[in-house]
């Protein structure tokens, strides 16, 4: 059996177990409501969940703009200029271990309990990994490519737009993947802590009244959001970094091509 079939089988059996175990009474419905009652709960209050999803998506979207835009910009500066790197990197590295969630209460004081505090928190949460991989991506660019571009008369700005940025794209994307996931975490967590709207808020509110099906309906939505985000990043990676794939396989194919078709030309 192939790994892909096996993987699908695992997912299917988890789904089946989610339905069966609560129904058979193995797990009390309060701890884990069956999948069907979870979906029913969500469906019956589709308007409420839809509104919550819209709020959360809005917060996630804006935070990602800040996290990714700021992270890429800061990473580019830190990655290409030694001086800011020396000044900033030690701070960033130690900041990485700080549980940033301690900042959230401060943000609610500064920005209120609306979307602004969530956006600020999630943006900072996703900023660091994006910045770190962008910096790494730029620092690891093959210097030979830059020398070649210079020998062809490329100016500094041409080297930036035509060599440095495209060369850094794969590493930046892997940073976006981590940063974007953390943005989702940041938004949902902050909604659960102090807020008045969003999926995290719904989960948290239904939990206080022990309405498990509605709690899990929210969990399902978050799950779906994370999976969709992952799929989107994968799609972008496939589109943007064709050049990174299959170096060895491409090499082998090329060798075959050459053996078959290319002849030493004679003049």
């Amino acid at each position: 059996m192939s790994a892909a079939t096996l993987r699908r089988l695992i997912v299917v059996s988890l789904v089946v177990l989610w339905e069966l175990l609560p129904r058979l009474g193995v797990i009390p419905e309060l701890f884990l409501p069956s999948l069907s009652s979870t979906i029913a709960a969500g469906w019956n209050d589709a308007g409420e969940y839809g509104h919550a999803l819209a709020v959360t998506l809005y917060e996630v979207g804006v935070s990602m703009l800040f996290a990714c835009g700021g992270g890429i910009l800061a990473g580019a500066i830190v990655g290409s200029l030694p001086r800011p790197r020396v000044l900033i990197m030690p701070m960033v590295s130690s900041l990485y271990a700080v549980p940033l969630v301690i900042l959230y209460p401060v943000f609610t004081v500064w920005l209120g309990i609306g979307s602004e505090s969530k956006i600020a928190f999630a943006a900072i949460y996703g900023f660091l990994p994006t910045m770190l991989s962008t910096a790494a991506g730029i620092q690891t660019i093959d210097p030979q490519l830059l020398l070649a571009a210079r020998s062809m008369g490329a100016t500094l700005s041409q080297r930036l737009t035509r060599v440095i940025i495209p060369a850094a794209i794969p590493t930046v994307l892997s940073g976006l993947r981590v940063g974007g996931a953390l943005v989702i975490v940041g938004v949902v967590v902050s909604e659960m802590l102090i807020s008045s709207a969003g999926i995290g808020y719904l989960i948290s509110r239904y939990r206080t009244i022990l309405d498990s099906p509605h709690v899990f309906a929210g969990v399902l939505l978050v799950l779906a959001m994370a999976i969709a985000f992952n799929a989107a990043i994968k799609w972008i990676e496939r589109k943007a970094s064709i050049w990174q794939t299959g170096t060895r396989e491409g090499q082998r194919a090329a060798d075959e091509i050459q053996a078959g078709t290319i002849q030493p030309a004679t003049a």
């Binding site: 050049w243 990174q244 491409g250 090499q251 050459q258």
Partner: protein
């Protein structure tokens, strides 16, 4: 912004370049001492000549090439290419081919060849036509849409040569361009290069570690020695062209190679 380059059709062989190197020296300053990489190097290269630089590691042959490319400035002396100094890279006068093909992996072969033209804002259709012609010249017709990872080592280096040729510079500088290739590919590429050179009439300055390659390709071999880098011999290779594989075993070939080897053994 540099002026718009020649937008005439790609026409190899329209120009050849003269190189004058006079009393050039290069000193690298390190924290503890100054290292003399090149000392009082003078060399006159006539248009259309194929000149090979050989010498032990550290003799400054690559440094000299980087200075001809405008990628590094000499500490003393003058370098003139077609009677003008070269304070910065000028792909209209000098094309550079490195040991690594240095192709941009996210661009196709064609786009790689177009790269220097795109830098000068030459219209897309014009540069595509030139790139196609240049790829044809290096024997890669029909491979333009491939990405570098779909090409073999020899093919990548051909693309790199096409990129060096696409602006039809009078001078082509090659820094051990075939050193990373296996021996069979290397021999094929040598013949290919001679064919391209004969077709285009460029002035070629070629750096190599291989004495056989040097004698096989060159009109003139310039032998350098290390510490400090300087020229110790300047041979004219009188073997007839086209060069053939059979010449490798001949007496003239052996004599010339021995003479170079004795210099290198002495200074290494």
């Amino acid at each position: 912004m540099q002026p718009l380059a020649n937008v005439t059709p790609f026409k190899p062989g329209s120009r050849a370049g003269a190189i004058q190197i006079s009393n050039v020296g290069q000193v690298f300053k390190t924290a503890t001492q100054d290292v003399v990489a090149l000392s009082d190097v003078s060399l006159d290269i006539k248009p259309g000549r194929f000149v090979v630089l050989v010498g032990p590691s550290g003799c400054g042959k690559s440094t000299l090439l980087m200075m001809l490319a405008g990628l590094r400035q000499q500490t003393s002396g003058t370098i003139l290419i077609n009677e003008a100094p070269i304070p910065q890279p000028d792909p209209n006068r000098v094309g550079v081919i490195f040991q690594e093909p240095s192709l941009f992996p996210w661009l196709t072969a064609e786009e790689n060849v177009e790269f220097p033209l795109a830098l000068r804002r030459i219209p897309r259709s014009d540069r595509r036509a030139k790139a196609v012609d240049a790829l044809k010249l290096v024997g890669l017709e029909g491979f333009g849409k491939r990405h570098p990872h779909e090409l073999s080592g020899g093919m990548k280096q051909r693309v790199s040569i096409a990129r060096g040729l696409v602006q039809d510079p009078p001078v082509l500088l090659m820094d051990e361009p075939f050193a990373a290739l296996d021996e069979q590919t290397r021999m094929t590429m040598g013949d290919e290069l001679l064919r391209i050179w004969a077709a285009t009439g460029k002035t070629v300055v070629f750096v190599t570690h291989s004495l056989t390659e040097a004698v096989y390709l060159a009109d003139e071999v310039v032998v350098m020695s290390a510490r400090p880098g300087r020229i110790v011999d300047h041979l004219t290779i009188s073997l007839p062209r086209p060069r053939t594989y059979e010449m490798l075993g001949g007496e003239t070939f052996g004599t010339l190679r021995d003479r170079i080897w004795r210099h290198i053994r002495k200074s290494a």
